[in-house]
């Protein structure tokens, strides 16, 4: 992909990653532009990059709200924006969320000035968020005492400052285990909730190590990883149990929703071009 902009001032950990932390927001930004959902976006943390457009483009922002401006125009999330060559995108302050996504697309039409185009994603899914993070049990769930199993679901865990693309460490009262016996290293996945010997939780994120040897007590379901990825240090995390069927249905609902937004955006884009 040709990147149609120049980074004037680098942000914190910007990356054109094929493994976004919040794959929903990344796909949503693409969907609003009618692009393929798995197209690579720029993932940004705050302070975010300052960007100059080197050619005329459509773009869309999703995920975290960092108060975006295109020249002097305030830019909302989830809207297609027309950016003429030479315009400058900047971010003022982190209002909500941890990671913002920038998708770009070539435009079938041309306008003189920066403009917010007249349609947006129906983001009902985001507007009524269930604050709970759903998990399915892991292989080593039974290592927790029954009291700790209850505590795992009832207590509030805070995201610590040790939270990055590799993993999230949580702050909470320690969870008690029946045994601390070592286990053989085995594969882990994005969303695996590991328990350290101190009874503290680590959730493996997008850049996680392929294998690990700490007990795996649960796994965050794929549909809730985007929500988890937008948590900031100090924010609360509470877990809720779910089963495989529910996990698959939630994921399917998200994917269908994204496909619908993409189809609707393609129609709008065509009629706007005419």
């Amino acid at each position: 992909m040709i990147i149609p902009y120049q980074i004037l001032q680098a942000g914190l950990l910007d990356s054109h990653t094929e493994k976004p932390m919040d794959s929903f927001s990344c796909s949503l930004a693409n969907a609003v532009l009618g692009s393929p959902l798995d197209q690579t976006c720029l993932e940004m943390h705050f302070p975010a990059a300052k960007i100059e457009w080197e050619s005329d483009r459509l773009f869309c922002l999703s995920g975290a709200d960092f108060t975006a401006r295109l020249n002097d125009l305030s830019i909302p999330l989830h809207r297609p924006i027309w950016a003429p060559k030479g315009s400058i995108l900047s971010f003022q302050a982190p209002v909500k969320g941890a990671r913002a996504y920038l998708a770009t697309a070539e435009s079938p039409f041309s306008i003189q000035e920066a403009r917010i185009l007249p349609w947006s994603a129906n983001i009902a899914w985001e507007k009524s968020p269930c604050p709970l993070i759903h998990v399915v049990p892991g292989r080593d769930w039974e290592r927790l005492t029954s009291r700790a199993q209850q505590q795992f679901f009832s207590q509030i865990h805070l995201l610590s400052h040790e939270a990055n693309r590799m993993g999230f460490r949580l702050d909470h009262p320690a969870l008690e285990t029946r045994t601390n016996e070592d286990i053989l290293s085995t594969a882990a996945s994005f969303g695996t909730v590991q328990l350290t010997h101190w009874g503290k939780l680590i959730i493996l994120m997008a850049d996680h190590q392929l294998t690990g040897g700490y007990p795996m007590i649960a796994h965050v379901i794929s549909a809730d990883l985007p929500k988890l990825a937008q948590k900031r240090p100090g924010e609360p995390i509470q877990f809720n149990l779910c089963d495989q069927d529910t996990a698959e249905n939630l994921w399917k609902a998200q994917q269908n929703h994204l496909q619908q937004i993409r189809s609707a955006s393609l129609l709008k884009l065509r009629s706007y071009a005419n």
């Binding site: 053989l184 290293s185 594969a187 996945s189 010997h197 040897g213 965050v220 794929s222 495989q244 698959e248």
Partner: protein, 223 residues
């Protein structure tokens, strides 16, 4: 006569992955099944499988959940597919891997946990070095970091528990966790007890030097 049941179990690894764990008493035999079926499923791919991850006793399957649900399939369909293949233990030829000889400095100034390890095991430095360098270790699996080989099995007299929580580790540190040993090929967080250091290059022209099924012999380097 009925054949003895094939000792394995399947457990989910979240909603988009699962593992087969081979439960043979011998770790070596279990690991041979892991590598047999990894080769089999690489040559005969199953729909929706994104990647295979071999480990000591487990072969894990990561699934493309997007393609799966959009085709109206579910994870249990893929698991059933795998179960139809994994029906009996497969005879495997003995591994014909390479032997790597790796020099290790067992010095207190380069191995932060060595002194603790001696206290923990009640051994002298010479005894500890003897027990760590004696076995011809098998590379049971690769993973964790590019170039990292999980080696086993460590003599039970020098088994050391994993650290309570991972800490920053520098490249070249030799660690022990339970009955496993291995060398960190790059800087990384890690929870193994660091009992030595080596300058051996584990990545050569971008390619990991160790392969699953190879053997490793450590020896004490002149310091």
């Amino acid at each position: 006569m009925t054949e003895p049941a094939f000792p394995y179990r399947i457990f989910p690894l979240g909603d988009a992955a699962f593992s087969i764990e081979f439960q043979q008493a011998s770790l070596l035999e279990a690991n041979e099944q892991v590598h047999f079926f990894q080769a089999y499923f690489s040559q005969h791919p199953i729909p929706f499988i994104r990647s295979l991850v071999p480990a000591y006793r487990t072969l894990s399957f990561h699934v493309d959940l997007k393609a799966l649900v959009l085709s109206n399939c579910c994870l249990s369909d893929v698991i059933q597919h795998v179960q139809q293949v994994v029906v009996k233990p497969q005879s495997t030829s003995p591994a014909d891997g390479k032997i790597h000889r790796i020099p290790v400095r067992y010095d207190f100034d380069v191995a932060p946990d060595l002194a603790w390890a001696l206290t923990q095991t009640g051994l002298s430095l010479a005894e500890f070095i003897f027990l760590h360098t004696k076995p011809l270790y098998r590379v049971f699996m690769l993973g964790f970091l590019p170039g990292f080989g999980y080696l086993g099995e460590v003599d039970s007299r020098i088994h050391l528990p994993r650290k309570p929580s991972p800490q920053a580790v520098k490249a070249g540190h030799v660690g022990i966790a339970g009955n496993q040993t291995g060398v960190y090929p790059g800087d990384s967080p890690g929870g193994w007890q660091l009992i030595g250091h080596t300058d051996f290059p584990f990545i050569h022209h971008g390619i990991p030097v160790l392969r699953a099924g190879d053997s490793v012999q450590f020896y004490a380097a002149e310091s």
